[in-house]
Symmetry: C2
Subunit: 314 residues, 2 copies
């Protein structure tokens, strides 16, 4: 369930005008920006952007980028985008960092639906004039490249049919691979990148039954090996996306200074999806409400924006 | 340009009724079936199928399958399908044959537009309850698997931006690979499966300029090696799809007894697309009109159906 609170009646034109007023003249009225954008869904935000462009012949995002700064700017400008375009942008940002860390790419390719991932690839073409898979291939190498290119290129079957016999046999294959410490095989990559999510959950369940431990626990976690780390995130995202997002939030807040990029990303991308359940998981795990943690670790307009997306009255 | 001739005004209901009449009682009126279906475009055929189902509470394709037989049945039943669904079916048929021959898969993944290929993958889910890429992975192995899975999973950028520097450098990479007879590398597969078609054509042009021969000529043709053969078809489909289709037609007719599967496939899948240009190429290359060749090598209702799709009055 979503966490954002959207009023029953809104006027797109009034919203565009309120935003113009908030971004005109000497000062900027950040509160007004949060009041409008923090309470609108993706379709409404798109309409507001279009209306703003029509009335003022100016791109609203460019105006906001000029007026706002830091984490607050990033949160607002990411939030305002179409989800598919935003995911393409997030993927591209991670690629441009050229680090060994690929959690955003894995997250985007494993926690979105098949049609959503397709939409992201389409949006990527439009914005970057290249395909997502070719960019991934250009920025990675070896086994990590194989895994990531296959993940972003997948269009998994998302129906209900599950083949139990296959799940059992592939659970065994995965167990063998973990036991022999040979996880970079074509077979492991094929299983994780082509099977449907329901099929993989059946496979992971068989694994747990047979081995008396979840596959996630048996994988070499925090291995400082680029491929293995990417593989672990893949399994976690496929096994239980909400649990995965809870952990990203927890880690982002636990980190010294807070990892605002990750915190913003999860809140912005899940606020219209399943942030309610992620919040519940967070409370269960940490005995602290996510809102309290955000309140403690962030400040000012940025804090207000995140809390608004989390469904708090600020 | 398409070759089929569609009358300006048609009545979907009349068409459904004519087909019912042609498939009712003791005999079957094949001429009437060709007269209707051979002159309707994809949208009209879908509407006719829907209308038929509504009026007679029966699947038109099932009825036709019962009434018709052999190559004629196959041509009509393939023709009547939505193009994306038909391509999914063609891919599946080839996969179930479990041979070393993968030209249909390559053809479908390299000569359709990115959005068309996406639609085929979607139709594949609906019909087979699995993803196309997982079926390809299950039925192939080694380098051929790598190439084919990447080909069917591709969503190539299809805009106009071309990077000439990149094309030049990748033309060199391809030349090195051909020279060293090492075509099964990750790099060769990456180039052929992720770059946009325009980018690849620029690459192939640079290759020709530098080597004074087309890449197609320099590849080890007819090598009886599964991977190399698949790779050659890939290059030919990407380089010049119409030329590729002309050759498939030529080979299918040249073969002893005619390869009706290939002949039907190309005519049925291109009749609404570019069969006009393929016909022109055929004439240029063989000094015989494609219609004459079809007339000479096929018979009966099957012949009439193909000639109708080729735009002849039969």
């Amino acid at each position: 369930m979503a966490t954002i609170i959207v009023p029953k009646r809104i006027s797109i034109r009034d919203d565009a005008e309120a935003l113009r007023k908030a971004c005109k003249g000497l000062g900027t009225d950040e509160k007004a920006i949060i009041e409008v954008l923090g309470h609108r869904n993706a379709i409404q935000r798109r309409q507001i952007r279009q209306a703003y462009e029509q009335i003022y012949e100016e791109d609203l995002i460019k105006r906001l980028e000029k007026r706002l700064s830091g984490d607050f700017e990033r949160a607002v400008c990411r939030w305002i985008l179409d989800p598919a375009d935003r995911d393409g942008l997030l993927a591209n940002s991670e690629l441009r960092e050229s680090s060994d860390e690929h959690s955003v790419l894995v997250e985007i390719s494993c926690t979105r639906s098949s049609e959503e991932l397709m939409g992201i690839r389409r949006a990527y073409h439009a914005r970057f004039k290249r395909s997502l898979e070719e960019e991934v291939a250009d920025h990675t190498k070896g086994d990590t490249q194989k895994l990531l290119v296959a993940l972003v290129s997948a269009f998994r079957y998302d129906g209900e049919e599950v083949n139990a016999k296959l799940a059992k046999s592939e659970a065994k294959d995965l167990h063998e691979a973990i036991k022999d410490k040979k996880l970079n095989t074509d077979d492991v990559i094929r299983i994780l990148t082509t099977r449907s999510k329901l099929q993989l959950r059946a496979t992971f369940n068989f694994y747990r039954e047979e081995q008396d431990a979840s596959i996630n626990k048996n994988l070499p976690n925090k291995s400082k090996n680029e491929f293995l780390e990417t593989l672990c995130i893949t399994v976690r995202c496929l096994q239980d996306p909400k649990k995965y997002f809870e952990k990203v939030l927890r880690d982002s807040i636990k980190r010294f200074g807070t990892d605002d990029d990750a915190l913003t990303r999860v809140i912005v991308t899940r606020a219209e999806k399943d942030l309610k359940e992620i919040k519940d998981l967070y409370y269960k795990r940490n005995n602290v409400r996510l809102e309290e943690a955000v309140d403690k670790h962030t400040r000012g307009d940025y804090e207000d924006m995140l809390l608004t997306l989390l469904g708090s009255e600020v």
